[in-house]
């Protein structure tokens, strides 16, 4: 066991890849391929629980660190680490992994072996991205994510899959290459690819601006931040359900994770100077995404645009540059991964039955599929941020952190505008719900089967986590907080005046757990 626990991060990262090799080698029939893939994903989940079990709460530094010189005399290293932020994102990935494979059980009927292998390879690349602490290693994982996703959309996608796959690939690649140039530049200054050495760089304001812009572009495209979002609806709509769930659940978080992990702490001055621009783009995205979602005819597209809106909240939270706002951002990443992931699963379930996703085709589904309708309502409420469910915690912390941010000009205006996004979110989600599930049941929707046991197995764990995150986010926040403080330390060091727009005493903008506790009246 020591063999595994001593290199636990490597195992968590590469167990799915091993599974992929196994699936390719031994998955002769579709059934075997599915079962092998599910097994690999479950093993990976169990391995990641080890991380949660032994994670040292209160320690903001990287844990379970692995470091081995790779090339160029150790200037490039195989270096993995896990802090509070990575911990939760890795857990989200390994948690969704088996569910995604289960969701593809029937939906992917052709070339099952290849599909399962791609899903598992994608999981390795995503986990690697969250764990890498060497910039070259990070870039390798970052780019490696594109390849399986490209094939997943292109082979198993909908009608316009080729267009969507190519668009997805090209958009992401454009951003990445600029980031590569920026990484190369820093590499020459720092003399090593280690993230720790990059953090030590002393850069002028002008240099920081360029580098920040290059990094932020790559991440903004991935998030996607308005106006770089146009690849997202296409990719989401055309991808198979499993692909959409991964895209919404995890891949989009790569962008926000990158902003938090790299763009902000590496270039704090630029983050301070240019962050407000990104915050404005985020707020535009919140409102714009919500408005566009409102007029969609296709449920999947509606959910896709709601992602633009929700991710806008995350970016806003990050660029409040307060620990509370950033914690809200991370919580919102997780919440969005759960709720939007679940929404895509639900849309996939109805699509499998009716082969359409047009809102106009439905109506009164609650009569035919009461349990399905109940679950859908539950997830809808989570998505619009009903208190007690996951969406609320994140949005609350983000708005709270932004409102009290002393580093973001016009913080209160931004908060107010973002808050309208919450209202709009409730409108478009509930309106969609009303049109699909309430009213008169149409002829063609009569006799649709309700949720099957397998579908319950996919949904139930997510529902449980949605409640858990909403009711009791403290375990999450207390592991997150020290790491966030550490990540934001370079920005905090620059802070000259202690919050010009300061909050009333007793409402600590920099202690998210305390903020939540205060809200609940625990103190």
């Amino acid at each position: 066991m020591a063999f595994i626990t001593d290199h636990i991060l490597t195992w968590v990262a590469f167990a799915p890849a091993l599974g992929a090799v196994l699936v390719l080698a031994a998955g002769r029939t579709p059934g075997t391929a599915r079962r092998l893939a599910l097994g690999a994903a479950l093993v990976d989940f169990v391995l990641s629980l080890h991380l949660l079990r032994y994670f040292e709460t209160g320690n903001g530094a990287d844990q379970f660190v692995e470091h081995a010189p790779w090339l160029a005399g150790g200037k490039i290293a195989y270096s993995l680490g896990l802090d509070g932020v990575s911990l939760w994102l890795v857990l989200l990935t390994t948690f969704l992994g088996p569910l995604v494979i289960l969701s593809a059980w029937r939906a992917i009927a052709e070339r099952v072996r290849e599909a399962m292998a791609f899903l598992l390879l994608l999981q390795t690349a995503m986990i690697g991205t969250f764990l890498a602490r060497d910039m070259l290693l990070f870039y390798v994982f970052w780019e490696a994510m594109l390849i399986p996703m490209y094939f997943l959309i292109g082979i198993w996608g909908g009608e316009r899959r080729v267009y969507a796959a190519v668009k997805f690939f090209l958009f992401t690649m454009v951003g990445s290459v600029f980031m590569l140039v920026a990484i190369l530049w820093c590499y020459q200054q720092a003399g090593s690819m280690a993230l720790a050495d990059f953090l030590q760089l002393e850069l002028s304001r002008g240099q920081q601006s360029w580098l920040f812009a290059a990094f932020a572009l790559a991440f903004a495209i991935k998030v996607p931040l308005f106006p770089f979002h146009t690849w997202l609806p296409d990719a989401h709509v055309e991808a198979p359900t499993a692909g959409s769930v991964i895209l919404a659940g995890i891949l989009l978080k790569m962008g926000t994770y990158g902003l938090l992990r790299f763009a902000i702490p590496l270039f704090p001055e630029a983050a301070l100077a240019l962050g407000p621009w990104l915050a404005w783009l985020a707020v535009i995205g919140i409102v714009y995404g919500a408005l566009v979602a409102m007029v969609q005819q296709d449920v999947k597209k509606l959910v896709a645009y709601s992602s633009v809106s929700h991710l806008g909240f995350v970016v806003l939270g990050l660029f409040s540059l307060t620990t509370t706002g950033a914690a809200g951002g991370v919580v919102q990443m997780l919440a969005h991964g759960l709720s939007t992931g679940a929404l895509f699963l639900l849309v996939g379930i109805i699509y499998e039955r009716r082969h359409t996703r047009m809102i106009a085709e439905f109506g009164g589904l609650a009569h035919a599929m009461p349990r399905f309708a109940a679950v859908f309502l539950f997830v809808t409420l989570a998505s619009i941020g009903l208190p007690g469910l996951c969406g609320f915690t994140g949005e609350f912390l983000i708005l709270f952190g932004t409102f009290g941010s002393g580093l973001l000009p016009h913080a209160r205006l931004l908060t107010a505008l973002a808050a309208t996004g919450v209202v709009l979110g409730a409108i478009y989600m509930l309106w969609m719900y009303q049109r699909v599930f309430l009213g008169k049941l149409g002829e063609r929707n009569r006799g649709l089967p309700d949720l099957s046991p397998r579908e319950w197995a996919v949904l139930l764990p997510i529902l449980v986590m949605i409640v858990a995150l909403g009711v009791h986010p403290a375990p999450l926040l207390e592991r997150l907080e020290p790491s966030l403080e550490r990540i934001l330390a370079p920005v905090a060091a620059l802070r000259q005046t202690e919050s010009t727009y300061g909050l009333a005493a007793g409402m600590p903008a920099d202690r998210p757990a305390a903020a939540v506790a205060a809200l609940k009246g625990d103190r």
Partner: protein, 493 residues
């Protein structure tokens, strides 16, 4: 004529010239063997293969050797020469393997199969000499040796109209550009009064030549050399020749002579023109040509539907990337070029080999006929994907590492705009490389699509090329080391 031209060649010099001697020997032996045992192409094949492997084995020793001038001062052997000997031997071995199972070369109706293999030996020897020339005469002779053999190889399929056209175009283009270059060489000789690189360098360092005539010399020389590496605007022959020539020959052309052209350019420009860089900014000239080459190659490749032609334009684009490293005039840039050439040989030969292997059964290189190959021939297609990702420069493949070092070298010298143009070009190239991937995986094959059996030898060769293409993306230390060692004694820096 300078004095060092008059050195008497010494028999012991041949010791430093062994790999070339072996290749030329193999050429003669293969020709003779073909005369004696007719209709048994295996004899020349085996002779050339043995020659290439011997040359390969002999070349490693020279990597760390200091510079040594031999054969009356005409050629120089040093680490870089050794590196290119290794590279060209490897390319020859791969080309032989590709050709042996190719219908285009070995089809029943073909004649002169033996001579084909002999020509590979001759060209390989010639390319090695190109990498070693240190005298204007030798420069021209080695270049012509390679060119003339190429014309014959391009026209190998005598009965094919396309191949004949390709060969003719090649000859005309080649003759014109070599004539232009010869004029440039004569100007340079007139300006400096020396034929050896060292003599030219000393004369230029002493102030010979005014900016205008030096610029003229540069432009004229670049016409000849640019033609060899398919640099814009001297690239026009490349798409037609690559498309018309037998595919194994195109594969060979796209890596061998191109690398040899770079070897020759490096030695010539680094040695002789470096002192003149303050009078004529040939670095900027090459930077502009580099941008033009990669941008043009990539943009035109986007519209191609013939895979061979697409790869031809892609190989033009790659010359553009290499030129970026070339104009850095640093050890770092040179190492990056050498490493990239090695990687490029692997991935480009691999991509062409895939076309050869399919041509055997499909009899077509049209992109539409590749529909569904990802599932009709899954393993070969998967390896093609590796080559395509590598050509794009995506991790975790060798192509990414190659570009990584290239861009790092460019940025180190502060040519940021050039690096940005380079990475943007990679994005464009993604589009057309993925076009092949797209057709193979996303387009369903028509119901009557023929089966695509792949020759066992081609499978083996594909694996031999794909495995290092992937492996070098994860652990490239050893190969980078080869390139670094080759440069350590390069005195012109």
């Amino acid at each position: 004529m300078s004095v060092d031209m008059l050195q008497i060649p010494d028999w012991s010099d041949l010791g430093g010239f062994l790999p070339e001697t072996v290749m030329f020997g193999a050429f003669l032996l293969a020709l003779l063997g073909d005369l004696v045992v007719r209709r048994r192409p295996v004899v020349p094949f085996a002779v050339v293969m043995a020659g290439a492997l011997t040359a390969l084995a002999l070349s490693f020793a020279g990597l760390d050797a200091p510079e040594r001038t031999i054969l009356g001062g005409l050629v120089v052997v040093d680490g870089m020469a050794a590196f290119f000997r290794i590279l060209f031997s490897l390319i020859a071995v791969a080309t032989l393997l590709v050709s042996w199972a190719s219908e285009e070369i070995m089809g029943r109706s073909r004649e002169n199969k033996g001579e084909y293999y002999a020509l590979i030996a001759l060209m390989t020897g010639g390319m090695m000499v190109m990498a070693e020339a240190r005298d204007l005469l030798m420069l021209y002779l080695s270049l012509e040796l390679v060119s003339l053999s190429s014309y014959v190889m391009a026209g190998y399929m005598r009965n094919s109209l396309r191949a004949t056209e390709a060969s003719l175009k090649y000859v005309i283009f080649g003759a014109v550009s070599s004539g232009v270059m010869l004029y440039g060489l004569s100007l340079l000789y007139g300006l400096t009064g020396s034929l050896t690189y060292a003599g030219v360098r000393d004369a230029l360092a002493a102030g010979a030549g005014d900016p205008l005539s030096l610029l003229t010399v540069c432009v004229l020389l670049l016409a000849g050399l640019g033609y060899k590496i398919a640099m814009v605007p001297f690239h026009f022959w490349a798409p037609d020749v690559y498309e018309g020539a037998p595919t194994p020959v195109s594969a060979f052309f796209s890596v061998g002579p191109k690398a040899a052209g770079f070897a020759l350019m490096i030695r010539f420009f680094y040695t002789t023109m470096q002192p003149a860089v303050d009078r004529v900014d040939w670095r900027l000239l090459i930077a502009v040509l580099s941008v033009a080459t990669m941008t043009f190659g990539n943009l035109v490749a986007v519209r191609q539907v013939n895979v061979k032609r697409l790869l031809a334009y892609s190989s033009i684009a790659h010359a553009g990337y290499l030129l970026m490293g070339f104009l850095m005039l640093t050890a770092e840039g040179l190492q990056a070029i050498l490493f990239y050439l090695l990687v490029y040989a692997l991935m480009n030969l691999g991509a062409f080999l895939f076309v050869v292997a399919l041509n055997n059964s499909l009899k077509s290189e049209h992109l539409d006929d590749y529909a569904g190959l990802g599932f009709r021939s899954p393993w070969a297609a998967a390896m093609m994907i590796v080559f395509l990702f590598s050509l794009t420069g995506l991790p975790p493949t060798a192509g990414f590492i190659g570009k990584f070092y290239l861009f790092a070298a460019v940025m180190h010298e502060g040519w940021y705009w050039l690096a940005i143009v380079g990475v943007l070009n990679s994005v464009v190239s993604l589009f057309y490389y993925m076009k092949i991937a797209r057709t193979m995986y996303f387009t369903k094959a028509p119901a009557d699509a023929p089966a695509v059996p792949i020759a066992p030898l081609h499978y083996v060769t594909l694996v031999l090329l794909a495995a290092p293409t992937l492996f070098l993306g994860l652990y490239w230390g050893g190969f980078k080391d080869l390139a670094d060692r080759a440069v350590q004694h390069f005195t012109a820096l």
